[in-house]
């Protein structure tokens, strides 16, 4: 679960990380009222999960209440423009009105989980304020990384060491170890996968402040923090993701490609392998579909409807290699789907092996269906049928 800036900053505040004075607003009138009560120069920032707010004109300045209302209207009038990863853009539902900082320098720091060392990794560079991938291209040598021994946890020497090795300006040095302590505290306490400050600002009057906040919480740990339920804001689902959710699948378990061979397999690895097999057999893939582990008859039925009704499939290749998924359950789902569906009927090619395959094959045989033996054979047969129909 990715947090919005204002949510991340709320966690920063609770963890003792200095953030600019701010007010979270949901309407232009709220923005105007806040600025009226608190005269000064304010920055109004769209609260979205997508990046690139500045370039999209979704961060604007206001020096009085009327200006605040106007820029708030302008920001909220249109959604964030779409990009490759978010083809629908993102609606802007709230704003953060924040104290403007007199910036002297901008740095970058983050804590994430490192797969290789199996430890929390702290990363620092003195070049902040721009896309961190860009920094990595321009100044790859500027990054200092330290892996934290979880038995020791965070200790201030880590902050000192990183401040020196990344050549942070002397102005940062006093505040930096305590800021990292707060980040580490947040990282562990809330089960975060990423805590990132970009930029970490050094102001002209010598304060060190987190000007932005990016926090990703571990979805698998959310059961320990029911208080975040109300914070669950997600990017709007694209059409494939909505269809997947409606069918009771995970949002990444279904994607369409426009071809004529519909596919379904259990497990992402096998689902991708199934697509490769169809391509290798000369076919065009209609979709990726991972029915998941332990799929029951009902889920199989939903997936059948999903592929038949929402893709260009002329044939449906079902490739099940049961481990935790039971062949008899899948077979039941297929037969039920065929018996109850009101959708168009397309030829099925079924490969069913692994756990309870005999029982599954028996159920299919009773319904007059004979499964193929291998994935490549099934792919070949499916491609032939797609061409013939």
């Amino acid at each position: 679960m990715n947090l919005m800036e204002y949510q991340g900053k709320e966690l920063f505040r609770r963890s003792g990380i200095p953030v600019p004075r701010s007010q979270h607003c949901t309407t232009p009138d709220e923005v105007a009222a806040f600025i009226k009560k608190n005269p000064g120069k304010w920055v109004v920032k769209a609260q979205v999960l997508m990046g690139g707010r500045g370039k999209a004109g979704k961060i604007k300045f206001a020096t009085n209440a009327d200006e605040g209302r106007t820029v708030a209207h302008e920001i909220m009038a249109t959604p964030m423009p779409p990009n490759r990863q978010n083809p629908n853009g993102e609606a802007i539902k709230s704003l953060l009105v924040e104290e403007t900082l007199d910036v002297a320098l901008e740095a970058y720091c983050a804590i994430s989980v490192d797969r290789t060392t199996k430890k929390p990794a702290i990363i620092v560079t003195k070049f902040g304020g721009m896309d961190v991938e860009e920094v990595h291209e321009k100044h790859p040598e500027s990054f200092s990384t330290l892996f934290v021994d979880t038995a020791i946890g965070y200790s201030p020497f880590i902050g000192r060491k990183l401040a020196f090795s990344s050549d942070l300006d002397a102005g940062y040095r006093k505040a930096f170890p305590a800021i990292l302590a707060g980040m580490y505290d947040l990282f562990f306490k809330y089960g975060a996968k990423l805590v990132e400050i970009n930029p970490l600002v050094l102001t002209k009057d010598g304060r060190v402040i987190a000007a932005d906040a990016k926090v990703e919480l571990d979805d698998d740990a959310l059961f320990r923090h029911p208080e975040f339920k109300e914070w669950q804001t997600v990017l709007p689902l694209d059409e494939d993701e909505s269809l997947a959710t409606d069918a009771g699948l995970g949002i990444r378990n279904f994607r369409r490609f426009g071809g004529t061979v519909g596919t379904m397999a259990n497990g992402a690895g096998l689902a991708m392998g199934t697509m490769d097999a169809v391509k290798n057999a000369g076919g065009e893939i209609a979709n990726f579909l991972d029915v998941g582990g332990g799929a029951n008859a009902e889920r199989v039925r939903n997936c059948y409807e999903l592929v038949v009704n929402h893709t260009n499939a002329k044939v449906f290749f079902i490739n099940i290699f049961g481990g935790i998924t039971r062949g008899d359950e899948v077979a039941k789902g297929i037969v039920e789907a065929l018996n109850t569906t009101k959708s168009r009927k397309i030829p099925l090619v079924i490969r069913l092996t692994g756990t309870n395959e005999e029982e599954g094959r028996r159920i299919l045989a009773q319904a007059g269906m004979t499964p193929v033996e291998t994935m490549d054979e099934g792919a070949k047969r499916a491609v032939e049928l797609a061409g013939a129909s």
Binding site: D220, L270, F321, I324
Partner: protein
């Protein structure tokens, strides 16, 4: 031989009375796994439907049965606790099937259990064909032989093994290491064991996009296993475009993680990379012939 697991390994199942635990205990027993009991707090003293003794704690289970290998089927919130309980009781080999274990729980576990071999979490387990199986792999597709197999995916493993078995290439041990960000056992850990296993004459590595485990495996092969016939496969080359991973993660792995990077690393180590699972047996047979 074989690695990690043979027919004498005494296995206990944590969560043995739960739906999944009970079902797969039956399947493991049918395969020949030497399961000596299980643990479900509050059900100590009872017998399972398979006639196995149930204990309240791991300590009691070990004292009564002499079990050495743990198999975990508990819900995600209890997985780390099950691992800690086993470690404290002296268990040094565990397989965690559970999916959805919080990543910070695994950070704590791997940091605090030196000397413990943990397979998983979020994995299908491991099998030494003809001897024993711990986890959820469908036993009948495997065949005893000389090929070691390591995989990050579950169902793709079965696919690859099915091909090997049909081609007459039996397996020494197949390990599903799991797909989570933090796992107990990596490709390299398994390669080290295969290197010293007299039964294993060849190895198949089934990788996936993301992370740098495959690149490290390739580096290890280059350094230590030049004389072993090895074939790799990378799943997810046509993966649907996903949401970007955390930038910080991408930077640590320094450009690793793409299929191109992994394929290049294996090729540089002299390891052929199959374009599809069904090519693996042929490529492996060629490598075995070339090296012999």
């Amino acid at each position: 031989m074989s690695i990690f697991l043979d027919k004498n390994s005494k296995v206990f199942v944590q969560g043995i009375t739960g739906a999944e635990g009970s079902y797969h205990t039956g399947r493991m027993l049918a395969y020949g796994t030497n399961i000596v009991g299980g643990v479900t707090p509050g059900k100590g003293g009872q017998k399972t439907e398979h006639g196995l003794p149930v204990f309240n704690t791991v300590e009691e289970c070990l004292a009564a049965t002499g079990a050495t290998h743990q198999c975990i089927f508990v819900p995600p919130a209890g997985a780390a606790d099950a691992l800690f309980e086993a470690y404290e009781a002296g268990v040094r080999f565990s397989v965690c099937i559970t999916e959805g274990v919080p990543v910070h729980d695994m950070l704590r576990v791997v940091g605090a259990t030196p000397g413990m071999r943990i397979i998983g979490p979020n994995c299908p387990g491991l099998i030494s064909p003809g001897k024993s199986s711990i986890g959820i792999m469908p036993g009948h597709v495997f065949k005893e032989g000389n090929v070691g197999l390591i995989s990050r995916s579950g169902t793709l493993t079965y696919e690859v093994v099915d091909g090997l078995t049909r081609a007459g290439l039996g397996q020494s041990t197949c390990v599903g290491i799991g797909g989570d960000p933090i796992i107990g056992t990596t490709f390299v850990d398994c390669l080290r064991e295969f290197k010293n296993d007299p039964q294993t004459k060849a190895v198949v590595i089934c990788g996936e996009i993301g992370g740098s485990d495959e690149e490290e495996a390739a580096a290890y092969v280059k350094e230590h296993l030049a004389g072993m016939p090895i074939v790799a496969f990378i799943g997810g080359r046509n993966a649907p475009p996903g949401k970007s991973l955390g930038h910080a993660g991408a930077i640590i792995s320094g450009g690793f993680g793409t299929p191109q990077s992994k394929i290049a690393a294996f090729q540089a180590a002299g390891v052929p990379v199959a374009d599809r699972p069904s090519e693996i047996p042929k490529l492996l047979a060629e490598r075995m012939a070339a090296i012999a």
